[in-house]
Structures are given as C-alpha cells and as structure tokens.
C-alpha cells in the first residue's frame, strides 16, 4: 500500500536502552560451536555487545522511563499528547493494551487516542504511518510513537542464531504537523505466506505455554531452544531482504520523484551488519550513508532499531539540519516498507540508560 502525506515532521527522538550490557565474548561460551568459529562470525555479523533488560523488566518500563524524563525536562507535556501509538511484540499482558496502561501511569488526557500496534522489524515505519494518519485529523497536532520491545526475554541464550544479536530498547518519536516540512512518501508490503519465518511458537492461544513448551531441544546446527523461544529461519529472512526489499525501495524512490543518490541517509532496521552491507551494495549506496552499527552497540531491538540508528550516529546533525532520508524496516510478518521524507531540526535527540535495579 502506498501512502502520501504532506507537512509531517519528527520533532524529537528519545532512545532508552537497558544499562545491563552483555558481551559476545561471554555469550559464546554457551554456544555449541568452537570459539574460533564464533569469533569469525562475530566479525562478519557485527556481534560485540548488546543491551538486555534484567529479569522482570517490561518494554513499557523503558518507555515510561523515557517519557517521564521528557516530562521532567520540559521537553514534552503529558497534556500535549493527542495520541499514543505503542508498537510492540512484547506487551505487558494480553489484556489490557499496553498503551492503556501507559495512559494511566502517565496521566494522559482522556481524549488522547491510544493504540497498540503488533509489529516488529517494520514497526517504526508502520508506527509513523499510524501517526501521520492521525495527524491528518482536525485537532491532532502531536503524536508520540513508541517502539518498545524486550525480546531478549524470549530468546534462548543457547541459540547462536539469535541471542548474540538481540537487544532491548524503547524509543519515543514525537511526530507533528509542520508547515513547509514537505511531502512524505511511503510504501508498505506484506507476505504472509512466509509469516512463520520469524516466530515465537508458544505463548498465544494457538499454543499456550505449558511445562512442555519450556523443554529445550537442539536444531540441526546445534542451537538449543524451546517452543517458548524465538525461532528464526535466518536463510529465508536473509533471502527475503535481498530479493524483495530493493524493488520495493526502488518503487518508493520513483514515487517520491528521486533516486537513491538523491537520499542523504538511509536509516534502516538493523538485523546485523552483514545484511545491511549487502543491502547497501544491492542499492549501490555507500556504506557511510547506511549506518549498520546498532547491533554491535545495542543489539537488534526490533522496531526500535531505526530510531536507535538515528540517535547513535546523527543526534547532533538531526538537531541542527534537515536531511532527505529513507527509513526502511523489513522482517516479522513478513512485513517490509519504507518512507522517504525530510527529517531534522529536532528539538531533542538523545539516548539514555534504563538503570539496573540489581534485583
């Protein structure tokens, strides 16, 4: 589906990462693979360190921490928020929606529209599109798009496929109407025939959690996980990203009246360094224009990786200048999409820690 909007802007960005950091050098001791082989892989994929929550911490805790800091510093007022779009694959509960829980904790207005969006890798793109549609409503001027996940709590530490690259984070993007900001172009696509390429089999109604779903077993490559854990068909997801994402982006650029050379920066979902380098090569985009360092610093935090890439690499620039950017997310669903828009002159763009409680 293609979308066109006018005069929409991201005016501020806050990234919250857990203070707790795990190093790949420690992670690999749990893998069924020789250390030498794991080290080689780490260089290719960008495994070094990742931020993961302590036991019992939920994604909304990170989001609440960030929003309260914005309130305390006068960068945002709770009664200014016209809508809260909460994008997550790790809700606090099945019921109630986590956006409603945050609404209560933060004292948002009763007419503040709250919605949970179940999306992951493409979650920042989808969340922004929700915000843009809301901003087209009369009287809606400021939307908080929160991308928050704690997927580390669902990944087996003995799964070399997934554990080293997973990170936790919450990001808050403030999105507003801004006259003169320019046109926004977007394209989002789905392929549900491959929806099981990325899944957590147990925990929903199809396969409720039980003692049986916690039983670990090894796959053909020696990775150990249970039905309660995330499982990814890495080859299928990689091939999907290489084959389907570039044509979608080419269509998007054409629709936006540009080519890739006309884009200043590509802020893409951060699955791993290798995939992003191959995507950059496929699009004939210099590596410098497509940051790929979120995994090695924070880990892959699902929908939060695009804001994380922006804050990690270009916080100062995004507060001073306006750039023509392309956002793209691809993964869970399988969902893949992109946005081309002008982006910059943020009121704030920062990364903070969610402190360890040590419990």
């Amino acid at each position: 589906m293609k979308f066109h909007f006018k005069d929409k802007a991201i005016t501020g960005m806050m990234v919250v990462v857990p203070e707790q950091e795990r190093l790949f050098a420690d992670d690999m001791r749990l893998f069924n693979a020789p250390e030498n082989r794991s080290r080689k892989l780490a260089l290719v994929m960008g495994y070094r360190a990742h931020r993961v929550v302590e036991a019992g911490v939920c994604a909304s805790d990170l989001a609440e921490h960030g929003l309260r800091k914005l309130f305390d510093e006068g960068k945002l007022k709770s009664d200014e928020i016209d809508a809260l779009v909460y994008v997550t694959l790790s809700p606090d509960h099945f019921m109630p929606p986590t956006s409603c829980i945050l609404h209560g904790k933060l004292g948002l207005r009763k007419d503040c529209f709250c919605i949970d969006v179940t999306q992951g890798c493409c979650g920042f793109v989808v969340g922004l599109l929700q915000a843009f549609q809301l901003l087209d409503q009369e009287g809606v001027e400021k939307v908080a798009v929160v991308n928050a996940d704690v997927i580390s709590r669902k990944v087996s530490p003995k799964d070399r496929n997934s554990y080293p690259l997973i990170g936790d984070a919450a990001t808050i993007a403030i999105v507003e109407n801004r006259e003169g900001a320019g046109k926004v172009f977007a394209d989002v696509r789905f392929d549900g025939t491959r929806s099981m390429a990325l899944k957590i089999p147990a925990g929903g109604f199809r396969q409720p959690c039980s003692p049986d779903t916690a039983v670990m077993s090894a796959d053909a490559e020696g990775n150990e996980r249970a039905p309660d854990n995330l499982v990814m068909d890495g080859t299928a997801v990689f091939n999907f990203a290489m084959a389907d994402v570039p044509p979608m982006l080419a269509d998007l650029a054409h629709d936006a009246g540009t080519d890739f050379a006309g884009i200043d920066k590509f802020y893409f979902h951060q699955p791993n360094k290798f995939m992003l380098q191959k995507l950059a090569e496929k699009l004939d985009v210099p590596y410098e224009k497509m940051p790929n360092n979120v995994v090695e610093n924070y880990g892959n935090s699902s929908g939060a990786t695009i804001p994380s890439a922006m804050a990690l690499n270009d916080a100062d620039v995004l507060c001073r200048e306006t750039k023509r950017v392309c956002f793209s997310g691809f993964g869970v669903g399988l969902t893949y999409g992109g946005i081309v828009m002008n982006c910059g002159n943020f009121d704030f763009c920062e990364t903070i820690n969610y402190p360890n409680k040590g419990e």
Binding site: R37, A220, E221, T235, N239, K282
Partner: protein, 76 residues
C-alpha cells in the same frame, strides 16, 4: 582460484577436507552462518561484491560452484 577457495574453506572449518566433495551442506560441513563468513571472506580476498541474492546454498555447494560465482561477481 580453486586452491585459494579451498584455503578459505579450511580456515573456516579446519576439521574438514573440502576437496572432491559434491555438497558441503548435505555433508554437514558448512552451515548457514559459515556461509556468511565464507561470503565475507571471498568478497575480501577476491575483491568482489557477491550479490545478496546469490547467497544461496546451491551457489556454494562445492569448489566448482563457488569458483563460478566468484568469476561472475563484480569487482570492488
């Protein structure tokens, strides 16, 4: 070129002998992560850019298929 490819394979999985094997994946000699390491090393050593859509097991089954892929991949 084939000797260089065999050297690279040996670096990644020193416990195996790759010469004369028809299918490295069927024999359990390479897995999906070894494939990423192999592509990255081939890119670097041969100064090429293997296209992401060519990163399929069938293009890396044996030394001959890898050599063919290296030959047709664009130079850096």
């Amino acid at each position: 070129m084939k000797e260089k490819i065999l050297e690279i394979l040996k670096e990644i999985r020193p416990e195996f002998e790759f010469a004369g094997v028809d299918d490295f994946f069927a024999e359990g000699m390479l897995d999906s992560f070894d494939l990423m390491t192999l592509v990255s090393t081939l890119d670097e050593r041969f100064a090429i850019k293997i296209d992401g859509t060519d990163i399929l097991p069938e293009n890396f089954m044996n030394v001959d298929s890898i050599a063919a892929l290296v030959e047709r991949s664009p130079k850096r």
